[in-house]
Amino acid sequence: MAKILIVDDSALSRRRLRSILESAAHTVIEAEEGMIAIEKYFLERPDVVLLDLIMRGMFGIEVLKKLRQMDPQAKVVVATADIQTSTQTIVLEEGATSFVTKPFVPEQILMAVNSALEV
């Protein structure tokens, strides 16, 4: 199974995602802010990143841009409370693999992760 990096400043959301991903036998690592996420990405080399957008410190869109600049193959699923279609368009243009919204639905999360792994 895959190694997934969860990037979210909310412990509640990280716990929820961890539970969903571990139920499918994925290995989970976590980062609660953008700079730590970038460090962990290059140290741990996860297969997929699940990335929140509205975070303290570096916003998710900046994290996405940095990751894709440094590793154009980075597979990033944006997982956010922002349900706007325009936001989805922006993050997909920036190279996100897919876009899922909160509250998290386990089937949607696992489908997004599986699709990212197949890219």
């Binding site: 509640l12 509205i54 956010t80 409370a81 922002d82 349900i83 706007q84 325009s86 936001t87």
Partner: protein
């Protein structure tokens, strides 16, 4: 009142859709059915704001505040009765035993709940009206509502008037109840109404 009957009707329909999306998100988070009251839309002078919003909830309140910016900008508030906020976070955090106060972990969880609910509501505005709004970090306030509202109004010259869109909700089978409040200045309201007119035309096909 700043709105014509037709504008009020169109705005009410939009708010209904947005608040229904919010209720669905809360229901999904809490695992309980959420009951919504019909939303109300009213315009007030900015000085009246603390008094008006203060009448929604007279007891101790936990408030999540999020600023949104873009073609339509303003302040969105999720007001929860304090005991209900404690109960809601107990449900979400799966505490071993019921708590009486919001500890650091509960406060963090409640802020995320506010983020999800306020985004669910305002995101519907963005999607239906085809405008993009950006969100600030949500902030939880446990101090008096009056103090928070004064901090919103100070320094905003544009905010001579505000439109308050509010609805009461209740999580069935629990004592969680609250209000969603959106505060807009007049120019944002004007842009919102223009976008709604376009949306209305689109609905007619």
């Amino acid at each position: 009142m700043l709105l014509t009957e037709k504008q009020n009707d169109a705005l009410s329909e939009l708010i209904n859709i947005a608040f229904a999306r919010t209720a669905a998100a809360l229901s999904s988070l809490s695992g309980h059915r959420v009951l919504l009251e019909a939303p109300t839309i009213d315009a007030y002078g900015i000085d009246e704001l603390p008094e008006v919003v203060g009448t929604f909830m007279r007891e101790e309140v936990a408030t999540v505040h999020q600023i949104f910016t873009g073609p339509v900008s303003g302040d969105a508030l999720l007001l929860l009765n304090y005991d209900g906020a404690v109960m809601l976070t107990d449900l979400l955090c799966e505490h071993q035993r019921a708590s009486r106060r919001l500890d650091a972990s509960s406060q963090e969880a409640l802020t995320e709940v506010g983020n999800i609910l306020l985004n669910a509501c305002l995101g519907v505005f963005g999607n239906l009206l085809k405008v993009h709004v950006s969100f600030s970090m949500p902030r939880l306030h446990l101090e008096s509502l009056d103090q928070l509202l004064r901090s919103i109004t100070i320094g905003s010259e544009e905010l001579r008037y505000s439109v308050i869109v509010s609805t009461a909700f209740r999580v069935k089978a629990s004592s969680v109840s609250g209000y969603l409040v959106i505060i807009l200045g007049v120019s944002s309201l004007d842009r919102l109404l223009r976008a709604i007119e376009i949306w209305e035309e689109d609905q007619k096909g």
